[in-house]
């Protein structure tokens, strides 16, 4: 019985897989000879092992072919490839909403990343049509602002180190002026450093894009004792275009740097109107939406229209998702 106890499952498995040393080999053989029970135990492992191997579906894929396909994929333009008909007004907001969701995808990935180290997260919207519709965003309150900013439409997810309420709400107002100053030349993102990311692919579907919109996701990154640096990642969607949107959320870019998303700004190029969202946006729908984007809330959001029905800082503004237009889906 003493010898029996010395044979662990690990050792049996080692033996089974041909990993056992000479000594272990003879130990196991001896042990198996001791009783039918022992032999059965070993056989049960052997059977399961062999079964699982038999069940395995091997890959017949050719790595070189796969590489060719990969190169093809790589060469596809980052922003949008499919054509989508222009239709209803007010739909451009859907794009904005989609982009906000996209930003949230990255953020969500950040929260779900299992590594405590700083890391980079990237999100891709692909293979689903993305369209926005003409219309004028009118929504604004103290945290969701609409503003004419020239000829650009942008979606900006701004991040910062802290998410204290006061800081955030202040920042949202700052954002608008930042937008009008910098919207034409966003800083590109050069921060992708760590690779331990839980990247996500988010599917977004929405309707027609009536005018070019530029989507910038701006985040503030603070490394060590340096001042925090705002970084923008921008994508432009031409009218009726849809497709991939790439951005890299800068969370955990390295162990010395930190970034958080606390604000999202949406602008439309033709009118220059801008919407700013943060986690203090007051209509519950706006708040809700933002939280989905940043990953505080999980699950799927089905959204049709991103309504912005006011242009001043009052409550009770409408930010609604209207399933009648039902084309914006965050998956």
């Amino acid at each position: 019985m003493k010898r029996e106890r010395q044979i662990s499952d690990e050792l049996l498995v080692k033996y089974l897989l041909g990993e056992a040393s000479e000594t272990e080999l003879s130990d196991v053989k001896g042990w198996m000879g001791e009783s039918a029970e022992n032999k059965d135990r070993f056989d049960s492992f052997r059977l399961i092992w062999e079964q699982s191997r038999l069940l395995a579906a091997g890959s017949t894929i050719d790595a070189d072919d796969a590489w060719a396909r990969f190169k093809q994929r790589r060469q596809q333009p980052a922003a949008a490839t499919k054509q989508i008909p222009l239709q209803t007004p007010y739909r451009w907001v859907k794009i904005a909403a989609a982009l906000l969701l996209l930003a949230g995808g990255g953020w969500l990935a950040y929260f779900q990343a299992s590594y405590p180290k700083p890391e980079t997260i990237s999100g891709v919207v692909k293979e689903k049509p993305i369209v926005a519709a003409p219309g004028i965003p009118k929504y604004a309150d103290s945290h969701v602002n609409v503003k004419n900013a020239g000829v650009k439409t942008q979606v900006i997810a701004k991040s910062d180190i802290k998410k204290s309420s006061d800081e955030v709400s202040e920042r949202s107002l700052h954002r608008v002026s930042y937008m009008s100053k910098k919207s034409t030349k966003p800083v590109k993102n050069y921060y992708s450093k760590a690779l331990y990311s839980t990247s996500r692919t988010k599917g977004f579907i929405c309707n027609s894009t009536p005018c070019p919109i530029e989507i910038c996701i701006t985040q503030s990154v603070k490394c060590r004792h340096d001042r925090s640096t705002p970084i923008s990642t921008c994508n432009v969607l031409e009218p009726d275009q849809s497709g991939k949107l790439h951005y890299t959320a800068l969370n955990k870019i390295s162990r010395h740097c930190k970034a958080t998303i606390d604000e999202i700004t949406i602008t439309m190029i033709s009118t220059g109107e801008t919407i700013v969202l943060n986690d203090h946006s007051t209509p519950s729908t706006a708040q809700n939406f933002f939280n989905h984007i940043t990953g505080k809330k999980k699950g799927e959001v089905y959204a049709g229209v991103f309504h912005s029905d006011c242009n001043n800082e009052t409550d009770n503004c409408g930010l609604t998702f209207d399933s009648n237009y039902g084309n914006l889906i965050l998956q």
Binding site: L55, G58, A63, F70, Q331
Partner: protein
């Protein structure tokens, strides 16, 4: 920002390294994804996606402690996300699909199928690292040492995890073991 510059590979170096990594691990990752998804096309899509994301960060390839460990983990996570998502979708159509099922198999095949499902789902329930290690051992016939090197872990860990995997499977399948014994020959014949 500047302190990261020293870590960067040149673009050409990074591209060459990346291509090498891609060709080395693609098939293996594809097999892994297939084992989870049972869908070769979707498995390739997911592995391609994982590589695409790595491509965007290729200058930092050398910063990874273990590239294959990163790749296996990413593929695993992406597959589970996909499975989770399709499960949600499937709920809507569950009754329809149920109605469409055709129970035209022989008893032996049905039992075998059930058994396969049991093993499959038991493997699916293994923790990520345990499953990956088991996978490398089971499908790719890698030695403990090779698995350890590939994943950047110790041989002892590999030994423990493979042991754990098989013990877990055995415990879960213990009630089916007699069936397993009976079917063993049949399965072998069927697979051949």
């Amino acid at each position: 920002m500047d302190d990261t510059a020293g870590f960067r590979l040149t673009n050409a170096d990074a591209s060459a390294l990346f291509e090498n990594v891609f060709k080395t691990y693609f098939k293996s990752l594809h097999t892994y994804a297939c084992s989870i998804l049972k869908d070769g096309a979707m498995a390739e899509e997911i592995v391609q996606q994982v590589f695409y994301k790595l491509w965007e960060k290729k200058e930092q390839l050398q910063l990874l402690q273990s590239v294959p460990a990163y790749l296996y983990r990413s593929v695993h996570n992406e597959c589970l996300n996909y499975v989770k998502h399709t499960k949600v979708k499937a709920k809507h159509h569950a009754h329809t699909l149920y109605a469409q099922q055709e129970p035209d198999e022989t008893t032996d095949q049905a039992t075998l199928k059930e058994l396969q499902q049991k093993i499959d789902s038991a493997i699916n329930d293994l923790p990520e690292q345990c499953r990956t290690i088991f996978q490398l051992s089971r499908f790719e016939d890698l030695k403990y040492r090779e698995i350890a090197d590939r994943l950047g872990i110790s041989v002892k860990t590999v030994e423990n995890q493979v042991g754990k995997a098989l013990r877990t499977l055995r415990n879960k399948l213990v009630e089916y073991l007699p069936v397993l014994f009976l079917l063993f020959i049949n399965v072998k014949n069927l697979v051949k």
